[in-house]
Symmetry: C2
Subunit: 425 residues, 2 copies
């Protein structure tokens, strides 16, 4: 039954963004007598940790995307709106949409982050990032098309540039992408061409800092790097990119001609944060209070990648799904407390570990006291990712696809769509 039919005022909770934070917040309010509105500019929740597998032809978009509407079809206090929020008017308690507005009593803002090119927005044309389904399809198109073009190219230098893939950024996404491209080249497509040998592809992972996976312990970084080298990935550390242009990158003074360049370096919070009129950090994230609210407006809570929560370690918590999930649940709990006249409680992140995978049967896992790498870390990685997916069907399909890939070395989504004959890059 619609709570508003019960004759007393029911608070309106608006949740903007149905990523991990927003979704878990809405679910935590399932049994409450409130009216929830979930707004997202996509009609699906995206399992972003596996987006790189869509970009590398291992999974289909629908394997890692789940209709938001279907998630809440049985949660009758919740409605879902496909709309783009373009601003927040905190004073008058309104979310400004591109085509309208919406009032709230409580607001949970969870619109996440996009990739950022720092002071070089022009690099985006040459080096797409990886945050949305459309990004992933574009990266997949570029990777597969580069091999196709190389097969037909007769000029040796041009062919080598077509077979060169540069990934900028040595965090988990960069490492996972580089490993996956190494596998495609050396294992998946090894027998598919007649004029080129895909194994001769040059895959360069460029990291500005002194090691890959900088958020992991040093020994796991070293193990990840060794696994990457086994997949013929060239790892360039302490190598800031000085230029990205049509057909290549410059590292220091060295020019690397490359048809495919992928950006996995910086992220910037969603621009919606700016409309709040509260202090942001350098990455555009909202410096939230210990209880996840914003200064001066306790009814507005910010969670996930959009929030810079610095009250635990002095540094912002990392932009990971577990942080967003815990914050989403906590924000919901605080709203429920407030409805009952109780004060908000401060948030505390419980770290359960971090994982990154580097191709077939190789991963690193940091569970605090236990640090593992190799096959068992990979199994842990698989299980954790399956566990956090939404929907039995997606879990089953993803498990099947992984088993299939593992046994056959094939990848199921090798489709060039959107613009088969479009430019590269």
């Amino acid at each position: 039954m619609n709570p508003s039919e019960q004759g007393y005022p029911v608070p309106d909770v608006v949740i903007v963004g149905a990523g991990f934070g927003g979704l878990y917040a809405a679910r935590a309010l399932e049994d409450a007598e409130i009216r929830i509105t979930v707004i997202d500019c996509h009609n699906y929740h995206l399992f972003q940790p596996l987006l790189y597998q869509v970009a590398t032809a291992g999974l289909s978009p629908s394997d890692i995307a789940y209709p938001i509407r279907a998630t809440f079809s049985q949660q009758k206090n919740t409605r879902v709106i496909l709309a783009e929020a373009i601003g927040i008017d905190a004073k008058s308690h309104k979310v400004i949409l591109r085509d309208g507005e919406l009032s709230f009593d409580y607001l949970i803002l969870a619109t996440g982050a996009r990739h950022s090119y720092f002071d070089h927005p022009e690099w985006e044309n040459y080096a797409p990032g990886l945050k949305s389904v459309d990004d992933a399809i574009e990266v997949r198109r570029r990777i597969l098309l580069a091999f196709e073009r190389a097969e037909r190219e007769t000029d040796e230098a041009k062919r080598q540039a077509l077979l060169t893939f540069v990934i900028v950024g040595g965090g988990p996404t960069g490492v996972e992408l580089a490993g996956a491209i190494g596998e495609i080249a050396c294992k998946v497509m090894s027998e598919d061409f007649r004029n080129i040998n895909p194994c001769q592809a040059r895959i360069v992972l460029v990291e500005g800092g002194p090691r890959v996976l900088p958020s992991f312990p040093e020994d796991l970084s070293a193990k990840a790097e060794a696994s990457l080298r086994k997949l013929c990935v060239e790892v360039r550390k302490s190598s800031p990119v000085t230029s990205i242009h049509l057909g290549g990158v410059v590292i220091g003074n060295e020019q690397i001609p490359a048809a495919t360049i992928i950006w996995a370096a910086g992220v910037k919070a969603s621009p919606l944060a700016q409309s709040l009129g509260v202090p942001l950090d350098r990455a555009g994230r909202v410096l939230v209070e210990p209880d996840l609210s914003i200064p001066g407006h306790p009814e507005v809570l910010v969670i996930g990648d959009l929030a810079a929560f610095v009250h635990q370690t002095g540094k912002p918590l990392p932009g990971l799904a577990p942080v967003a999930i815990q914050q989403g649940r906590h924000a919901a709990k605080n709203i429920l407390r407030s409805c009952r006249g109780l004060p908000y409680q401060p948030f505390r992140y419980v770290e359960r570990g971090a994982l990154a995978t580097i191709g077939r049967a190789a991963a690193v896992a940091d569970f605090g006291v236990i640090k593992i790498s190799g096959f068992f870390a990979w199994i842990a990685w698989l299980l954790v990712h399956i566990f956090f997916m939404i929907g039995f069907r997606n879990r089953f399909i993803v498990m099947f696809e992984w088993a299939w890939e593992y046994i056959t070395f094939q990848r199921s989504s090798r489709l060039i769509t959107g613009n088969e004959h479009g430019p590269l890059p």
Copy 2:
């Protein structure tokens, strides 16, 4: 081993188009000492009979598409080229590509057909057809977005137009699409909205002729129509469309306001046929000789939807996968005969039946003496479609998706991608 290394001239067979015809032709030449080049403007073979399921969110594109390159990775006499053929120079034995050309000794032309709007090319903007993966994603976007927009629309007339879906053309594709949209509205999404009842969607199937499925026996047409009515599809027979415009169609003098219009009426052969300089029929198909070659150029064979083969019944054979497959194999056989100095043999189509499905557990099947409808026809439809798919993985996933849909009434690919906020239509 590459046949050319064996020291005597090896014929070059070029196959343009890797649909059913081209693919089966290339496979039939697997053991021959010839050099085969397969050209396609996509990097995948598309299982077109199930394209309507991608358009209606039941399957992912990669479930019905298989990389052409992977198909031939072990067939060492065959190379695959991703390229767009824009003309044939039959006299000088050349295929003209957008970016080059290619010589042949034998050519198999199998580039199929696109939808045609007869004398109204402007209708394409308002009523997309369904021939490629990109078409299917666009149709899916329009269908899902119409429900999303309807949920937020407050004007009753506009809402009704958003919930009206018109399918033009009562052949198998139109019938299958109408049935699938009926299911989505009444079963899949029935609990997902708060302001609209998706079951109130109006689905109109418009057929110019006196019955749906005109190529089937009359009693099966009647049964298909009854099944459609059960899914709340309005069937309008003998109703030629007189106008399609932004926001609606006109049938006779009746105006039907509709946000989503899908074209499943006419097809026209690929324009490549025109460059051959031989007689074409009204749909632009090549009037082939009894042996599938073109007049004056026995080394050029045309098969599948691009060919009008009139030597068996006086009418062209229908544009179905079995026709293309049998013609592909026959063209290959004729080329092998010619290599051995033997004359071509005439082609003869062996009809094994026709099938069409109308939603959940309903189909019609015409196997000549045996005509069935309902559940068993549906099972036959499932099995035949699974059998003709390429690759175990695709077969398995499609079977799983169908079983999942059957049990849960869910559809797995309810994603609006490409242009979430784009215009409708």
